[in-house]
Symmetry: C2
Subunit: 340 residues, 2 copies
């Protein structure tokens, strides 16, 4: 049997509550007793049972994080920052990765709630059933922060202004003289996908430039799909002077395809990514990218969640918060002025 508060109390002829207080440095307990208790606790190797504590305090001091996948690093970096931010509030983070599967996402949400996470941060799959589930949970008293821009949803949102992020990247390319700018990314389904494409298209329309270079493929964002899409774009002789990729991962695939085609980055084709992952520095040449302020996003999301938890309020009483973070263009070496 593991050692409990009762064991300590018995050996010291104290009441459980006294031991409990002593362990928490309650000023009402005399210093001697406190020391005595702590000393014995150490000797016996007492480890508090947070499960029991949670049952009475109705608080687990843990938050749940639901993401799509850990490996491709956007979520990895995000998870790390969220964990760090939560830790500064003495909170643990339970990470659940849905593998982009709405059914698994649902299981994950339910599991985190059943484990009584004090709140949830969710980068959702955007399946409406699950969004409704989250709204429901929020109403039932479990605060939820959403990391996607979903309109008309009664949840707090910490989102990214991808439209303007990509518009500013386009502006940068146009200012350098680029007119034939391609976009390579997945079909616009999720908010990030829709917004990033929209930023590109809005700019194209406004400046009457190259919307025929919009290249949308089916499937999840991966370097391989970026690679293949680029190859087929180049084959068709629709050669652009610059490519705006949906994200960094795809951009790396684009770069590989350009080199393999015997062209050079950035001399023949400039490439811009998005997300701002550390692995941009992995590319040759290092990737210019529309960086999402991932750390800030994590900090803001956790901050907001902690407010909700402390105020013991979910949505219903209050208007949902809408925080929008603006991406920042990080200029590296994958872009130059167009060749001709």
């Amino acid at each position: 049997m593991r050692v409990t508060i009762a064991d300590i109390a018995r050996q010291l002829n104290l009441a459980n509550s006294t031991v409990s207080r002593a362990l928490k440095d309650d000023p009402r307990i005399s210093t001697e007793v406190r020391e005595q208790v702590k000393e014995l606790a150490r000797q016996l190797g007492y480890r508090p049972n947070l499960v029991a504590r949670s049952l009475v305090s109705e608080r687990t001091f843990s938050i749940g994080l639901v993401i799509n996948d850990i490996p491709w690093s956007f979520f990895g970096e995000l998870a790390q920052h969220i964990q760090n931010a939560a830790e500064s509030y003495q909170y643990a983070t339970l990470i659940y990765s849905s593998g982009n599967n709405p059914h698994k996402e649902r299981i994950g949400i339910e599991s985190l709630v059943a484990r009584r996470s004090d709140g949830l941060i969710v980068s959702a799959h955007e399946n409406m059933e699950n969004i409704h589930l989250l709204e429901q949970l929020s109403r039932e008293g479990c605060p939820v922060i959403l990391l996607n821009n979903i309109p008309a949803v009664s949840l707090d949102i910490v989102g990214v202004d991808n439209v303007n992020g990509n518009r500013s990247a386009m502006q940068y390319l146009a200012d350098l003289g680029h007119r034939r700018i391609a976009y390579i990314g997945p079909e616009p389904v999720k908010s990030f996908e829709v917004e990033r494409l929209a930023g590109y298209e809005q700019f194209c329309r406004q400046f009457q430039c190259g919307e025929e270079l919009r290249m949308v493929f089916t499937g999840e964002a991966s370097p391989l799909l970026g690679y293949k899409a680029t190859l087929s774009l180049l084959e068709n002789n629709h050669t652009p002077t610059a490519v705006l990729a949906y994200n960094d991962i795809i951009a790396l695939g684009v770069i590989r395809a350009v080199w393999e085609s015997g062209l050079r980055v950035p001399d023949d084709i400039s490439v811009v990514g998005a997300d701002g992952l550390a692995l941009c520095l992995t590319a040759y040449p290092p990737l210019t990218t529309v960086a999402v302020p991932i750390r800030e996003m994590a900090v803001k999301a956790v901050e907001l969640l902690m407010q909700r938890i402390q105020a013991n309020e979910s949505i219903g009483r209050t208007t949902p918060a809408r925080i929008q973070l603006l991406p920042e263009l990080i200029i590296r070496q994958s872009v130059s002025v167009p060749r001709s």
Copy 2:
């Protein structure tokens, strides 16, 4: 207030225990009552409180995973596989990333234990104090699976035979005719670092080839350090015909440095990575690598942990298990025969 079993019992004029059983499809409860209970549970939006359940059952159905960092994808991929494997046993995974900081690692371990994880999988920082803590926990009844090869430790280990992995990579290079093979990696402190360097050095000694090309830098494995190390290697005119990098991340930095120096991969310099991450396909050219069977590692670790949990045995009674996984060389396009 959230709805509890007692609420359902009251409304249906049943005992709590009956409701509890009905919810679990206990055959002793009549089908009608079972249906009635479940129906009302659905209507009221009953959600089981796993905290309460855990307190009595002494099981949380969650395991703790302690890793060094999530973002650089080895641990990301690992975490994903562990989570998947655990899920097949109906277990949730609590991930804690220590950011390579032994003190934070300790906090993380304690936090996971306080939350009463049924077991731990740890890719340790290899700080001996923490290892002893883990041994202690194991003795106290919390099974621990270690993912590092640490000698003479009384914990189950699912490790990687990095020595032979790297020797086979060297053999492959030598067979192609390479004699001037450099190694680029961090100072050998952790087991992975020691073993991978050892695999290189053993081969060099055996075949009397180029140990002067061993290039060890200070700091954590990052593409930037791989990049810088390569540049200084090339500056000193110690030009190798091939580079064996500590891992894929560093290899990507090496590749970038080679291109920037006006040399070509693999024509002038061949590059081999290690780990076998998905981002190898991101490189130009796609990276040949000594792939760790990450998924298998995850599956084996979880399998072993589940056995320990089910048998309700940690180390002490039993001899610790020693599972060694052999990496596999995945041949892509970053290696060719040497130039001259």
